[in-house]
């Protein structure tokens, strides 16, 4: 049963407000400790290192699942801020509002280097945002942007507001 008033994403005027609202209301984003910084429409998601993120204590390395989850949330956050923007790279996206949070359909995660016990960063690029489907690519890195530790590409199901 869907209640439109309850399902609607919180009204927020700016991309920054939408981003903070989204990160603040997703319990799992708080569980991981994810935050984000915005420069215009360019967002950098940040996963501050915390001991509970470790998946291999002998290296030590951040859990591969956590890196996948972080990049998936980065993609969702980028979609949240992309709505309503007049960005040229967002096909059909201008002026459209999402009625609810996009849902991942599939993601492919490529692991490039082990995630060391330091802060991790990620940026997402929406390669296409249609009326129903968005294609998103994400890269995560630590000390060196040019040496990513993992990459994700995925499809997300959109529900646009009427």
């Amino acid at each position: 049963m869907s209640d439109p008033a309850r399902d609607a994403l919180p009204a927020a005027d700016t991309a920054g407000e939408r981003l903070q609202a989204m990160l603040g209301r997703v319990p799992y984003a708080r569980f991981l400790g994810i935050r984000a910084e915005l420069a215009g429409d360019e967002m950098t998601a940040i996963l501050p290192f915390a001991p509970h993120l470790i998946g291999n204590p002998s290296l030590p390395a951040i859990h591969g699942g956590v890196l996948g989850a972080f990049m998936e949330l980065t993609a969702l956050a980028q979609l949240t801020i992309a709505q309503g923007l007049g960005a040229q790279e967002v096909e059909h996206g201008a002026g459209e509002r999402l009625a609810r949070q996009p849902k991942p359909i599939d993601v492919t995660v490529e692991y490039l280097r082990s995630g060391r016990p330091v802060d991790t960063f990620a940026r997402a690029q929406i390669t296409r945002m249609g009326r129903r489907i968005a294609n998103v690519r994400v890269e995560a890195w630590q000390s060196t942007r040019a040496a990513p530790i993992a990459a994700l590409h995925g499809h997300f199901l959109l529900t646009l507001a009427d």
């Binding site: 001991p51 998946g55 204590p57 002998s58 956590v66 989850a69 849902k103 991942p104 993601v107």
Partner: protein, 161 residues
């Protein structure tokens, strides 16, 4: 040490206990089947919700469970406590998990070579043939560069053997 179903269970439980993210999520290994199959579970918790409108657990939790279960299926297929690294992980999200329910995962390492293992997995909240998500993963074997693997978990398994 060659792992039998009995010490495989002890080994994997000790590994889970020594893996902070597995502890944080509450991931538990339920058991193994012949032919490289591992069965794991993660309980539902409010703080793991990904969509507060619906109460559905975050896709990322399912991602971590699938990755973790696929890794343990590799140990089951290989029979030695090797160090492995995920090369890639493809996940299809079939339907939202039912809020309030634990998620289970059955992972099958169906092919293993000298250096690479291939795994398929299904995550479900009711029956294995009605998946919440499915995964396909590839792992690199012996990725530690000769560093001894999982010393604590091996010691626990040897003690139980």
């Amino acid at each position: 040490m060659v792992m039998t179903p009995k010490n495989l269970k002890v080994f994997s439980s000790a590994m889970n206990a020594g893996t902070p993210q597995a502890v944080a999520l509450g991931i538990e290994t339920l058991g193994f089947e012949d032919g490289g199959v591992a069965i794991l579970t993660v309980p539902y918790r409010e703080e793991l919700v990904g969509d507060p409108d619906t109460g559905v657990i975050a896709g990322g939790v399912v991602t971590t469970l699938l990755d973790h279960a696929c890794g343990q299926a590799v140990y089951a297929a290989h029979g030695q406590p090797i160090v492995i690294a995920t090369l890639d992980l493809r996940i299809d999200y079939m339907r939202p998990a039912e809020p309030g329910k634990a998620i289970f995962c059955r992972a099958h390492c169906y092919k293993i070579t000298r250096s690479v293992a291939f795994v398929r997995a299904s995550a479900y909240d009711d029956t294995v043939d009605d998946p919440v998500a499915t995964a396909q993963a590839a792992f690199m074997l012996n990725s530690s560069g000769g560093k001894p693997a999982h010393a604590d978990a091996v010691a626990a398994a040897e003690g139980a053997a």
